[in-house]
């Protein structure tokens, strides 16, 4: 019959310290569950809010304009070069781009398909500040088609009033297939262009055209080369930075934070689940410390028996492996249990939350599985290391 741990099991005295063992198991279970669950929630939030986030490469992009009050109404409220330089040099502002608007009249019609015409404004901004820039968003003089990036908020507004006006509602996909005729007229004449919506922007509430088109048409249609900037987009690490907000308030600038709020909500949610994850790691560490105390006590109590087994010829390696292996089923049970509960909670999240289920997989993310496997390996490694150390001490 093979030599097995069962033969020597009665010689390993667990003593009266059963409470700390079970507390250790419980702590480990809770810690692993918190870590796995928070990881899955972090990924869920990341994936759900990915499309809608106005943040780009970890930055907030916010629009500022000068406050219009009864005192300054009717005056020139555009940004001067001095204003722009002051903004540029402020430490929390990592970049800025003025929105340049058209100096000529623009009238848009949608042809015969949609009997709709309206006066418009166009604006241009550095491409780096736009969240969605397709490769087709370029314009060269002589080109009759002008690519436009349309605010998704405007589309939403259009779809609200369209039925009342007898106009068809439009989806994000169909809007790109509509031919818009842009009738641009200024002191120097009138020019017609075909407008083509190439993308929707969540970040910028405007109708954006390439800078090359704006500069060319302002020069050729209005003859006005002076650019008046009434809106500026700034790029900052944290749009909720109190010092930045106070600085902008002092300059009497109006801050449009609607878009930023969304990213802050996401950021807060992610911070909460990250904190939960960190708490989970702390609980795991504490549980492992508790285990190590339990283990030390157990080996100390069984010291004479273990020493006699070694004297009789039992191999230290076999003893270490056998003692360490006894916890493997417990660790497996704890981690598989935590994975199952995380999976159930994930399914509940899909079931009861407001989210669009197509965005998320029913199964846990692969990284959660990976972390579970790593945790198992880590606990087994730490455990066998501890047993080895303790046994070496008694040899």
């Amino acid at each position: 019959m093979e030599l097995s741990y069962k033969n020597i099991e009665p010689l390993i005295i667990s003593g009266k310290n059963i409470f700390s063992k079970w507390l250790g198991y419980f702590g480990l279970g809770i810690g692993v569950l918190l870590l796995l669950f928070s990881m899955q929630m972090f990924i869920n939030i990341q994936q759900l809010l990915k499309e809608k986030s106005p943040r780009k490469s970890g930055y907030d992009f916010i629009s500022i304009s000068k406050n219009i009050t009864n005192e300054n109404m009717g005056k020139d409220n555009s940004f001067t070069n001095e204003d722009l330089n002051k903004l540029k040099t402020y430490p929390a502002i990592e970049g800025l781009s003025p929105l340049i608007s058209n100096q000529f009249r623009v009238r848009a019609t949608a042809g015969d398909v949609i009997p709709f015409s309206t006066d418009l404004f166009l604006e241009s901004i550095d491409k780096d500040f736009i969240d969605t820039v397709p490769p087709s968003f370029t314009w060269q003089p002589g080109q009759s088609v002008v690519p436009i990036i349309f605010s998704s908020d405007f589309l939403e507004m259009y779809n609200v009033f369209a039925p009342a006006q007898g106009l068809p509602q439009l989806s994000a996909k169909t809007i790109s297939s509509i031919n818009i005729i842009l009738e641009c007229s200024g002191p120097n004449g009138t020019l017609n262009f075909k407008g083509n919506i190439v993308a929707l922007s969540d970040r910028i509430n405007s109708l954006l055209v390439p800078k090359t088109f704006m500069n060319w048409s302002n020069l050729h249609l209005s003859g006005d080369t002076a650019t008046r900037v009434s809106r500026v987009y700034i790029k900052t690490k944290d749009a909720n930075d109190p010092q930045l907000i106070s600085f902008l308030d002092q300059q009497n600038y109006h801050l449009n934070k609607d878009k930023v709020k969304f990213s802050r909500v996401k950021s807060i949610l992610q911070n909460i689940v990250s904190a939960l994850g960190i708490f989970g790691i702390l609980v795991i560490v504490m549980a492992l410390v508790l285990f190590s105390f339990y283990l030390q006590l157990m080996i100390a109590k069984s010291k004479d028996n273990l020493r006699l087994l070694l004297t009789l010829g039992y191999s230290p390696r076999w003893l270490t492996n056998s003692v360490a292996k006894t916890w493997l089923p417990v660790y497996l049970f704890i981690i598989i249990g935590a994975l199952i509960i995380t999976q159930l909670l994930h399914l509940l999240f899909l079931q009861f939350s407001f989210v669009d289920k197509e965005d998320l997989s029913f199964l846990l993310h692969w990284s959660v599985w990976l972390i579970a496997i790593l945790l198992l390996a880590l606990t087994v490694f730490i455990n066998s290391g501890l047993v080895k150390k303790e046994l070496n001490n008694i040899i």
Binding site: T311, L312, G313, P316
Partner: protein
């Protein structure tokens, strides 16, 4: 395998006081099949010598080697292999698991590297008169019974050397004879050497090679 003792002297004995010893500071080679009887009064180092040879203590000068291997250089892992296959022992202080039964104590050793089937435990216990003690906890047995349990335990494994440290101190003449017959028989099966340490020369060991410490 052979065991070589090369000028070993325990650290606690002054080298000036070993002139009369036939073991300390001498070169002794013990080969398979040999029987060596070490005789000495209490406190002269019998148990120390047995423990030195078994590798439990290293507080001596000189060398002890299993074949060409100095045992001071052996790892605990290597020692375990020797103790499973080559060298067995009966401790003076017996070293039994007091809370385990007699059978469990013997089985713990037998399973390590079985030389005999489990039935042999019953047979040997019968021969030494402790068959009724097999299911009893060792702590309920008398010292003489415990000595017999330790003897049976030591015979459960393969070995080339059997170390005996005053194994019969609490046995009467009849039981000593029975135990010695069993040990001779088992050593014979393995052609094993026997190193027997005791207070005085035993009658039934007459004719063996006797060394005084």
């Amino acid at each position: 395998m052979q065991i070589n003792l090369q000028e070993i002297v325990p650290d606690y004995i002054d080298k000036k006081n070993i002139s009369g010893s036939q073991v300390w500071g001498k070169n002794i080679i013990i080969k398979k099949g040999e029987h060596l009887h070490i005789v000495a009064p209490s406190g002269t180092g019998k148990t120390s010598l047995i423990h030195f040879i078994y590798g439990l203590r290293k507080d001596y000068t000189g060398n002890i080697s299993y074949d060409a291997t100095d045992i001071k250089k052996l790892s605990t892992e290597s020692f375990s292999s020797f103790r499973q296959n080559k060298i067995s022992i009966i401790f003076q202080d017996l070293r039994l698991f007091e809370d385990q039964t007699t059978r469990e104590n013997i089985e713990i050793k037998r399973r390590l590297h079985p030389f005999h089937p489990p039935e042999m435990i019953d047979e040997m216990a019968g021969r030494l008169g402790i068959e009724t003690k097999l299911s009893q906890q060792v702590k309920t047995c008398s010292y003489g019974e415990k000595q017999r349990i330790a003897i049976i335990r030591s015979l459960m494994q393969p070995f080339e050397f059997l170390l005996l440290d005053e194994p019969y101190s609490h046995l009467d003449e009849v039981n000593r004879k029975k135990a010695m017959d069993l040990i001779y028989e088992e050593c014979g099966k393995r052609n094993a050497a026997m190193i027997f340490a005791d207070l005085k020369e035993l009658d039934f060991l007459k004719g063996e090679k006797v060394l005084t410490l």
